[in-house]
């Protein structure tokens, strides 16, 4: 196995009395694409939020490129800390609801954090943003505001926005779930290209076709634990666990 990009050990996360993650271990290699499947409420999204410390875990360890990011003063409390900077500069995230900044144009959405966080000049940020927006097929929409873009276009801007920070890992949280069916493909195509370029990706999704085609590995979660994991073809075609079979059966029967 290649060098571990990300490794999660015994992750526990609860919201109030509700235990959402009950001991999750995952090891992800550099350049690996992992799809996380599972019913809603199984803890998939929370897992992603743990990784970039939007929802720091209460228990367990997360190593990002060998650094323990759950340790040290302020960890686990949402405080400003070196871990946050370290993590957020290396981990990009794309959300189900896009979360573009509605008062900023597509271009400004992609330049804002480059300037404020990475300290790039206006010119540099602009060039990088233009290049990325062209790459996701939106070179002609630079000055559009989010409300005039389709959901698929907005989501591609959101991907460009995350990529502009030169992340080492990309997290995708059900990024096609809020899209009209005909807009799903354009977003998945963008993600396919990203995977082909060797980006390390954790993709929470219900798109089994995408998982089968792109994922190196599939993780099936239920009730806050990993029920089954393995190569995509194996888990999707020949699941061992009863719970996985049941879930895949329901999804495929739609």
């Amino acid at each position: 196995m290649a060098e571990a990009m990300l490794s999660l050990k015994g992750i526990h996360k609860r919201f109030g009395n509700l235990a959402v993650l009950k001991g999750v271990d995952i090891e992800i290699a550099r350049g690996e694409v992992v799809c996380v499947l599972g019913p809603s409420g199984s803890g998939k999204s929370t897992l992603l939020r743990c990784v970039n410390l939007l929802a720091p875990p209460e228990e367990g360890e997360i190593f990002l490129e060998g650094h323990d990011i759950c340790k040290g003063p302020g960890s686990g409390t949402g405080e400003e800390s070196w871990e946050l900077d370290f993590v957020r500069q290396r981990v990009g995230m794309v959300f189900q609801q896009f979360n573009l900044f509605p008062h900023k144009s597509a271009l400004e959405n992609v330049t804002l954090a480059q300037e404020k966080v990475l300290g790039r000049s206006k010119q540099e940020a602009r060039e990088k943003a233009t290049e990325l927006l062209e790459r996701v097929g939106l070179g002609d929409q630079l000055d559009q505001y989010p409300e005039t873009l389709s959901g698929g276009q907005q989501q591609r801007v959101a991907i460009a926005r995350a990529l502009a920070m030169d992340p080492h890992v990309m997290l995708f949280d059900e990024v096609t779930s809020a899209l009209d069916p005909e807009l799903v493909k354009e977003v998945l195509d963008t993600m396919r290209e990203l995977a082909a370029e060797g980006m390390t990706m954790i993709v929470v999704t219900h798109e089994l076709g995408f998982a089968r085609e792109v994922a190196d590995r599939v993780i099936f979660m239920d009730g806050g634990v990993i029920v089954e994991e393995g190569p995509a073809a194996e888990v999707l075609e020949n699941p061992r666990e009863e719970r996985t079979k049941q879930f895949l059966g329901l999804v495929l029967d739609r």
Partner: protein
């Protein structure tokens, strides 16, 4: 009936004292302008302090909430009297703070401004808070996931969106503030109500007060209409499904 009319709407009295009352009313507008500017800033500051993240900063949040609650509850008149009647005797303060005459304005002017800013900062903070809380949670998450600090996210992402959501309620606060500038008359600032009362005492006629009321109406009625218009426009946006203003 004519007695009533003469007491409140004596055009001779109004005409003779028009200039005097107008100049005094401009004093109200000046108090308003300075206090509104400072209260809008102070209120934003309070709102941001109230939204500070993390457990470690909870005491600051708590103090801010206490401040906002207290000064929304205490009558402004008391605050005005406490400042004008107390601050001059706090000898640990420098002279120019105890008895301020900044920019050629008399000390009651600044005591009044201070009281209004202290109180209206609390009120505007609540309006800002409503605006900030109306911004979807995902905006903060997206900004933070891009590596922005809480403060950067507030400044570049949350607050610019929040202020587009609150012009109507904020305008209501400003209307109240404008009216409350008349309270400063109790500490002998020559603003319109004080001057009108002097005229009342001299002429035993209330028409100068009516004139002052008319000045307020002339300024405030259009603002009230504007509030209604803003509320309607905002509702239209919500029903259209895009409640977010594009700058």
């Amino acid at each position: 009936m004519s007695q009533f009319f003469n007491q409140y709407f004596n055009f001779n009295v109004m005409g003779e004292h028009f200039g005097e009352v107008l100049v005094a009313f401009l004093q109200n507008l000046l108090v308003f302008a300075v206090a509104a500017f400072l209260a809008l800033l102070w209120g934003l500051g309070l709102a941001l302090l109230r939204q500070l993240p993390s457990r470690k900063l909870a005491p600051i949040r708590f103090i801010t909430i206490a401040y906002i609650d207290i000064f929304r509850a205490v009558p402004i008149l008391i605050i005005i009297l406490m400042i004008s009647g107390g601050v001059p005797f706090l000898t640990f303060l420098p002279q120019e703070v105890r008895i301020p005459h900044w920019f050629g304005r008399p000390d009651p002017f600044w005591y009044g401004v201070a009281a209004l800013v202290i109180v209206y900062g609390a009120f505007t903070a609540e309006v800002y808070r409503a605006g900030i809380e109306a911004v979807p949670k995902g905006q903060m998450e997206a900004a933070r996931s891009l590596g922005m600090s809480h403060f950067q996210a507030m400044r570049h992402v949350i607050v610019p969106q929040a202020i587009t959501k609150i012009p109507a309620p904020m305008l209501n606060e400003l209307i109240s503030l404008l009216k409350d500038t008349t309270l400063v008359s109790v500490i002998a600032l020559s603003e319109s109500v004080l001057v009108s009362r002097e005229i009342l005492a001299e002429r035993l006629n209330s028409s100068a007060l009516t004139l002052t009321a008319i000045f307020f109406l002339v300024i405030i009625l259009p603002l009230a209409r504007l509030v209604d218009y803003l509320i309607k426009r905002n509702q239209l946006k919500i029903t259209r499904g895009s409640h977010i203003e594009v700058a």
